[in-house]
Symmetry: C2
Amino acid sequence: VKKPVSKVYSFGSDMKKIAEDDPRKIVHSIKVGLAIALVSLFYYFEPFFHYEGFGVSAMWAVLTVVVVFEFSVGATLGKSVNRGIATFLAGSLGVGAHKLVNLSGSDKLQPVVLGLSVFLIAAIATSMRFVPKLKARYDYGILIFILTFSLISVSGYRDNEVLDMAITRVTTILIGGAAAILFNVVICPVWAGEDLHNLVATNIEKLGISLEGYGNQYLKLDVNLEELDRTFLEEYKCIIHSKAIEVNLVNLAKWEPRHGKFRYRHPWEQYLKIGDLVRDCAINIDALNTCLSSCIMTPEGKARIQEPCTKMSVECGCALKELALSMKTMIIYPTTDSHILKAKAAAEKLRSIIRSGSLAEEAELRQLLPTTRVAS
Amino acid sequence: VKKPVSKVYSFGSDMKKIAEDDPRKIVHSIKVGLAIALVSLFYYFEPFFHYEGFGVSAMWAVLTVVVVFEFSVGATLGKSVNRGIATFLAGSLGVGAHKLVNLSGSDKLQPVVLGLSVFLIAAIATSMRFVPKLKARYDYGILIFILTFSLISVSGYRDNEVLDMAITRVTTILIGGAAAILFNVVICPVWAGEDLHNLVATNIEKLGISLEGYGNQYLKLDVNLEELDRTFLEEYKCIIHSKAIEVNLVNLAKWEPRHGKFRYRHPWEQYLKIGDLVRDCAINIDALNTCLSSCIMTPEGKARIQEPCTKMSVECGCALKELALSMKTMIIYPTTDSHILKAKAAAEKLRSIIRSGSLAEEAELRQLLPTTRVAS
């Protein structure tokens, strides 16, 4: 008896955590509920659609809303556009195939030609789904294309009925898609582009916090490596594995129209570049971390490099944090450059002292800057 | 004129590359085409289903095949099971809601109660999709649940018709799902579990190649760091970003029954642990790489550590490559242990020489071993 109860309980706490972490998810659930309920009721009351019964119209509209309604505006738009265009294209092609078969073939040949055309279209379209560029943006559309084409070309209707059906399908899908987009954009819209922007900015900020903490704590003379508070070091760990999320958000953001601070055709690809640089940088900090954890330096050696090292890390950290802030607010801070100059000076000093040392983060920073400028 | 032509050309070369890299993808496309064409034709000929016209039966079966047919057996099974169970549950609930409304409510109250129940079910189910554990395995099922429930409860049919329709839907979905599974399993099945196993083994092998190349090339006395052939170092770069792929494959592999060398409930989670260790190890090699690239050592210092370092790297590399081989063939090689012992001895020697150095990979290897044993 205890197990299901504890399962329900842990499920409840899961939900609570989700609601606290991101209340937009709860708002999204309510939006979905509203959209589906209203579209359903619309078809329930509308006698024009109702006379066909459960069959064609209402079903396709409700189905479209359920399937197309995604968390972010970009995803919803992408799916709607994919679904609409794919249905239209496949519908035209299906009607064409139908006509062709009826014109040319005898009754015996008909199913053979139809089966062959369905096989060919389905096989070619499926193989297209493996092309990475097409998969990223049109995967759903290709699926719907296969679906619609096989449904229409195999249906046993006469020509004019097929055309009617195709038109009904396209219009109901348009209605369903429009409802989904409307609900998604009007009530607290979630923009994938904004999420991406904030994610990248937060990652830069985390990097800054790590570097600063690194400068302040790691390089102290009397520090005990085992007792060190390493929480600030954990900050960058999750950056390393954020690539897949970023790629996905970029694909979604490309569908979004102008909103807030972003225009349509915002250079989303640049975020990927920044993201990659941030990840490289995080891996380099990890490298530094590993090196320093295992290196047992003599106190004298440490004392010699301590001042420029600390300065470099802290200034880099400051610069990164300011960059993150300037990305978030989209205002360029004039002090960032001075931080970077100071960091470079400290790095030069350090280099002249030991002619070695892993100054990866400085080199990274130099790379990082122009790219960040481009995007913000 | 030139642009579309070159686009078609680049698309053709994309397809050729896909076919060469993984011929299974082309086989998959043909399988999908065959399955859809045959199921379509079955419904085209079958008079029992045909009399209903395009409407219900044929459509749901073809739709199920198109939507459910995925590349790997695990994904196809997962989607079929999800779709089947969700349709059954939502169908029962929808019929129940329908009966309840017809029994209790007046004509005016009916749509309110229906709309409210659709809203509640859709909102709660959508919020469940955000729970990571449910999302990983049942995301598709929850979607279909919302879909079926709203379709059935809003349809304007009388009670007995609703029941009929629900039964028809469930059976056609079962037929479609069974066809998809049959085609997927009988013709050249692609097992997600096998892919996962090979991916992890290949990653370990890449790590071994990197380490070996590292030992053989990097630590030579007369090496020029700029002119070094770094291709072997690139091997581990893609390991770092393979986490998302692994997590996905594990989720799919859990659906698969006993096949080949794997039984049902194979400890798939262990692969994630090995994968994480391999990734940590790859990041550590990256760290070593960065350190050594920037460190300018004196030739004497280098000469002192050269022999044990080289030995350690090469032996570790050998051990990892053998582990990968033993994973692939599922035979335990007795020589692996001796490689590890040699590597450990070399590491001990190195440690005694310099009492420092980043020996992360040795520590990693020690961790790596027991886990690998568990899985293979």
